[in-house]
Homo-oligomer: 341 residues x 4
């Protein structure tokens, strides 16, 4: 049974494992102060075109969100997120566990707009309510949509005007930036958001996300927060080496392109067959709506998540491709689907 359930079913890209092997016996500093982490940070700074950014490697997405958001906010300040935001419903209240409320906004296509934010500010006038302070967005979003440069620019401008912090969850940033519909570049981010992270776990690494802090005032003492949350790995080289490989050349982007290409192929074939989709997603996650009978049949050969019920006869499923997805399996899936439709 081949799985399209997610983009973290396999290990890491072979190049990464090879470097782990080659460097294994070398002695180096602990806690992220090793030469590989330092080199990786330099490479990322070049790629994002920002010498002044602070970069920290953290094991996973929820961990990164916890540390960044709790470090950026004061006790009475809250985060704003779209209702489908990962921190709202899929992190076991991790942000609230650090003391901060998350204000949920309906949004559109899994994305936030200035008018959504204005609506939140309007109903939080004084000290009887939390103070909205950080805007959490993800790119690509939980439902596969992506932010255009102009959409992000508008959010940036609104946040600047209203003293809000704009934070981007980039668990699937690679897929977003490599989408055919994308007009953003990695080097645009330091000027458009206050902090963001580059997801490694879902794009070829064993573990690790690279948090990039762009706004000066958010950088101070950051390693204290990582350590206090138990996330300062003794063998930080493990993450340094992975990111060094991902950004030594263009591996990070090549892997995302592979994932997007295969997801796009499935999407195109299904569109030709007039299959409808729950949402427009030009990234590595797609949500076709299929008859329940078809889904049941498909489940005998492939693993995937049933995302939500659409009507009594049909449901939307989630198909996810990754850097490791095999072209042959995608072709089989398409062929099988065509037979069933």
């Amino acid at each position: 049974m081949y799985s399209f359930k997610n983009d973290y079913s396999e290990g890491a890209h072979p190049k990464i494992l090879n470097t782990l092997l080659e460097t294994n016996q070398e002695q180096d500093e602990g806690y992220g102060l090793d030469r590989y982490s330092k080199k990786a940070i330099e490479r990322i700074k070049e790629k994002i075109g920002s010498e002044n950014a602070d970069i920290h490697f953290i094991s996973g997405g929820t961990q990164t969100n916890i540390i960044a958001i709790s470090a950026f906010l004061r006790p009475h300040e809250a985060a704003i997120a779209v209702s489908s935001g990962h921190i709202l419903g899929h992190e076991t209240g991790a942000i609230e566990a650090t003391g901060h409320k998350i204000l949920s906004v309906e949004g559109k296509d899994g994305k936030l707009s200035p008018s959504d934010l204005q609506g939140v500010l309007d109903i939080h006038p004084d000290e009887h309510m939390v103070k909205p302070k950080l805007v959490y967005i993800s790119n690509s979003t939980e439902i596969g949509s992506i932010y255009s440069k102009s959409e992000l620019q508008e959010l940036h401008n609104f946040c600047q005007r209203n003293q809000l912090i704009l934070y981007m969850d980039g668990a699937r940033l690679g897929s977003a930036l490599c989408s055919e519909e994308n007009d953003l570049q990695l080097s645009d981010l330091p000027t458009l958001v206050d902090a963001f992270y580059i997801g490694g776990t879902k794009n070829g690494a064993l573990i690790g996300e690279a948090l990039v802090i762009c706004r000066e005032s958010l950088k101070e003492d950051f390693r204290y927060h990582i350590k206090q949350k138990g996330a300062l790995l003794a063998k930080g080289r493990l993450m340094g080496i992975q990111f060094l490989e991902l950004f030594r050349d263009n591996l990070f982007f090549d892997l995302a392109i592979h994932a997007n290409k295969l997801a796009g192929r499935i999407r195109n074939e299904l569109e030709k067959a007039n299959v409808k989709f729950l949402t427009h997603s030009p990234s590595n996650q797609i949500f076709p709506i299929l008859l329940n009978a078809v889904i049941t049949e498909l489940q005998t050969k492939y693993a995937f998540h049933i995302w939500e019920k659409v009507d009594s006869d049909s449901s939307a499923i989630r198909l996810v491709t990754s850097w490791a997805t095999k072209e042959g399996e995608v072709n089989s899936l398409i062929a099988d689907l065509k037979k069933l439709l």
Copy 2:
């Protein structure tokens, strides 16, 4: 410059990396539900001789302490630790950050005794003070000492009588259990402590500790706590595979024996040369007291921590060996020391 600074300067044991390589392309479940994590848990249950223990893999020691202690305690309850305890001074207030006070006790040789605990209970009679509830010990301790079976039995009995939770930090449990002076067995622990962890990071793994929860009442919903703290790794297989290798046969113990043997050799040679030690440590950390002039000379060829000033002319240094320490380097160190003494 060869380093005796710590036991996490190198990568992982080759067997572990090989298995990571061999299994790399296999698809498997995420979040620790993969077949390797499950097998590793079974193997550990056999080694500790307890079918009913709950076992969870967590990336590092501080992370494990945070999750376990905050999950085990209610808001008004406190932990008790010896003054040199890792959670007290070297985790950036991580436990307090979860809301819990740590009560510091002087102790002896880095260890706690029932009389130390009684002293704490005596001065915490009512609701104007925290309620002492969890006893934190580490084996081996921060200063290399180890608990004898009878010492641990006495702590266990006292905790039972006083409704206290006994928790053992096992970051260096391998070294403790493989010490020539040790009379404890891994399979004794489930009956002597309520929870403990088996340290992987400092004994041959890239990352990972295996938390073992023995007391029934502490097991409920534990995965919620791991996730809420951001520690449920998407690719949990990374830890499962490592612990499977460490406990497939006796690798975990073989590595600790290697580290202890080399530390013991240095200790013996220094003792012959009448060097005094800050503390008696029959494990992989030793603390010889040397003249500052000797230390300065030694620093030109070896890296290590200066632990504390002893008097105007001499200081205690910390020498740590590990699974990866090279016998040849130990011999050179000994030879160089003899010349200097």
Copy 3:
């Protein structure tokens, strides 16, 4: 300008102040262990018909909610509240500040039903989400509605079946229980909810709510939680004396009847004049919908909150009566309103 803004604009009922005066010079124990607090607890136990309830006096409603909810829940557990719930939008994230998420439900008329709760449980299946555990309701609600005995019985049964804790915020419990439409008795509560509080601040006291804990498992060590949150007043007698007066005879109910009677009179007169209301509220808060021109005129003589915009020409205002509201002022308000309508 007379105020109908809220039910805490005046001081305390004279009987309360007189007793404060009479007992002022007596020496007594601190921290709520004084004879008055003890007597007050006994009187309340008689009134609620439960010898086994644990009763604690706490300065205000938000403080009580914070202490009770954070004491009742484990770190990964969440509260469920109706979208208009006070803890959700009007306590500055106080519950989240203790680490717990609040799950918002639309509800109906400011109230929750078993189907609302079932909906929440359905979408919280595993450790990737918080664990819904405590059901927060208020009676009367933020919009003046009240729970019938059968509605509460159904919630109770659902919570029992699903291991949920049912907690009632009684900031305006007096008004709810004295509503003409009410069929609940104070003595019904210990068998229908796990914990609730009797609001003093909004019903004639200077400060103080009486938290009543009915479920055995929620009582342990509760005074530790009060102290840890800074709410164990040195001169607890201040609250004991107030509640003793409120419950010595029927003062608590008499005051609520007075408030309800006057609110009812306004409501009846406005209904006669065909004024519509935002919601049906048989308690001391009413929400008539008036033309904006009428509201502007009214504001020249009376203080009140404009609750929400209804359409371009009209808005709903909130009129609140209390134990201290003067009958004459109510008559003037009615007369002025009639002129304006």
Copy 4:
């Protein structure tokens, strides 16, 4: 049995109760925005000689410490307190419950000095430890000693040089400032500390402390923190009226002088009788060392705390006087003591 156990055994000074009575029926704004709170703030600003200070009334000392310290610190920052400090041992871990570690220092006579602070800074060099940030002192201290102006000036200078926040717990500030040995004035404090509170509860009020924030950067959004901790009382007038009375003229100081005078009388008489004291305390708390037999006899007529065992035959007791202590009872106590000595 007359009590010398503490300074909160009685109610409030009659002047305060009278004003509560006189103003009881007036309608006013809630949450501390009433005219009495505003007037009280103006009066206190005059007394401390600082127009720019921010002043907030909070119900009690622990509550004030919780709100101030958690608002002033970032998550990784810690407080420093002398080992006898109230926040360390007598607030049920309230500060830790907000996430902050308290670093304990031995100190001298219940007081901290720059060298104590330097010692803490020296052993907290990096992100593996908390970052010491706030210095907590109390005046008078838990053992009745007071800070001289020069001692406070030195602490102030040290804190300025090391970017530390100096916070003074003034639960018994009245007694400290009215001590015969005191050379500090209330108006010195705004220039010597960053924040402090003026204790009302232990100096004639029913409840209430006045937190004074002097440093500009600590003032922002402070009311959010008060509300979030459940301490923004609906009827804030209760505290405003009390502080208005305490500072309308010199009532606050007159009451402290009364308490000190009676404690001084006991101290002098005991000194004449060659009784030794545990510590030098020129305020309203004294700690004479008496034979256990004498203590037992004394307990038949007076209530007081036995502070600590001194040797097998004798112990130190704590005698506390207050604004309400009766001169006649003090004379009886002295007479009885003389008989027993």
